[in-house]
Symmetry: C2
Subunit: 205 residues, 2 copies
C-alpha cells in the first residue's frame, strides 16, 4: 500500500483517540481531563494513546486545531458575500455569536485562557486560527465594500476588531463568567442588530 492520500494519519485508532480526547477535554477542561479517562473514552489503551501523541499537550493541540479549522470553514462557506452590506454584516455577526456561544467555542476559550501561562503555544495557536483569521476575512470584505463605495474606513484592522468585539456585547461576559450558558434568539438578535447599527453609523456612507 504505497499511498492512498486519505489513509488515516498512522495506525487504525488515531481518529478514535482524537474523538475520545475531544469528548473528555470538552467535558473536563485541560487540567481536569485525565489521560486515563481519555483512553477509556476512546476505547483504547493508554500505551496506544502515547504511541500516537508524545504527551497530553500535543494531544490537546491536535484536538483544538482540528475542531477550529472545521468550524471556521463551515462558517465561512455559509455567507453570501454579494448581498447588501447590512445583510452581510448581520450574517457574519450571527456566525460569530453562534461560535462564541457554542459549547465548543466556550470550552476552548476557557481552556486557552486558563492554561496559556503554563502552555503558551496554545494561546498563540488559537489566536492565529481564530481572531486573526476573522480579522483577515473581515478586512478582505471591507476592501470590496469600500471599492463599491458602500463603506468608508481609515483603519480597517481596527474596524474589524471593533466589529468582532461588538458582537460579544452582553453575551460574552455573561457566558464567560458562567451566569448563562445559552441565549435566546431574541438576545442574540439584539446584539447583532446593535453591532450592525453601530458599525454602519460609524463606517457607512
Amino acid at each position: 500500500m504505497p499511498d492512498g492520500v486519505i489513509e488515516p494519519k498512522r495506525g487504525r485508532k488515531y481518529d478514535q483517540v482524537l474523538d475520545g480526547a475531544r469528548q473528555v477535554f470538552m467535558a473536563d477542561g485541560f487540567e481536569g481531563a485525565s489521560v486515563d479517562d481519555i483512553a477509556r473514552a476512546a476505547g483504547v489503551s493508554k500505551a496506544t494513546l502515547y504511541s500516537y501523541f508524545p504527551d497530553k499537550r500535543m494531544l490537546f493541540m491536535e484536538v483544538a486545531k482540528n475542531e477550529c479549522c472545521r468550524q471556521a470553514d463551515e462558517a465561512i462557506e455559509s455567507i453570501e458575500m454579494d448581498a447588501p452590506v447590512q445583510q452581510v454584516l448581520c450574517d457574519i455577526a450571527g456566525q460569530m455569536i453562534d461560535f462564541i456561544t457554542s459549547n465548543f467555542g466556550q470550552r476552548i476559550f476557557r481552556i486557552c485562557v486558563g492554561e496559556s501561562d503554563r502552555f503558551p503555544e496554545l494561546g498563540r495557536e488559537f489566536y492565529e486560527s481564530g481572531p486573526m483569521m476573522i480579522r483577515d476575512q473581515l478586512v478582505a470584505y471591507f476592501d470590496e465594500a469600500i471599492a463599491r463605495g458602500e463603506l468608508r474606513i481609515e483603519d480597517k484592522m481596527l474596524a474589524a476588531d471593533q466589529f468582532h468585539e461588538l458582537c460579544k456585547a452582553d453575551l460574552f461576559p455573561r457566558m464567560v463568567f458562567n451566569l448563562s450558558d445559552e441565549f435566546t434568539k431574541a438576545e442574540k438578535m439584539r446584539v447583532v442588530n446593535g453591532a450592525v447599527d453601530m458599525f454602519m453609523a460609524r463606517y457607512g456612507t
Copy 2:
C-alpha cells in the same frame, strides 16, 4: 478589648496571609498556586492559614474580592463627570483599558475564566463586582448626558456593554492569548479614540 471597629478581622496574621496569598495567586494562578507556597510567602504556618480560611477556594475568593473593590473604587474616583461627553468617555475608556491590561486584571480574568467550571461562585462574584458595576456606572452617566441632550440612546444597557467591548478591541485578544502583555500609549490611544468615535457616531446628537 470589647471592640475597636478596625481590629483585623480575627487574629494578628490575617492580613499577612491575605498578602501572601495575593502574591502567589497572582504569580501562579489558582491551580498553579500551592498552599505550602502561600504559607511560606505569608511567613505563616500552614496550620495558621487553615485556621483563618476553611480552604483554598475561600482564601482565593477573599483575595479577589478585596482587590477588585479596591481597584474599582480607585478608578471611579478619578473621573471628572462634568467634562464634555467626549472627554468623559475617553477617561472612562482609558481606565477600563488600564484595568484590563494591568497585571491584576489579566491574572484575575485568567483565573476566573479557567476555574469557573469547577468553581462557579467565583465567576459570578467577579461579574458582579466587575462588568456589572461598570455597566451600572455607565448607564447612570448616560442618563445625565441624555438629560442634557448630549446623547440619544434607546437601549442604554446595550450601549454600555458595547462601549465596554469596544475598549477591548485588538488589545484584549492579544493579551488574553498571550501574544503581548504590555501595550504602548499609542496602541491604547488608537483603541480609546476608536471606541469614542464609534460611540459618538452612533449615539451622539
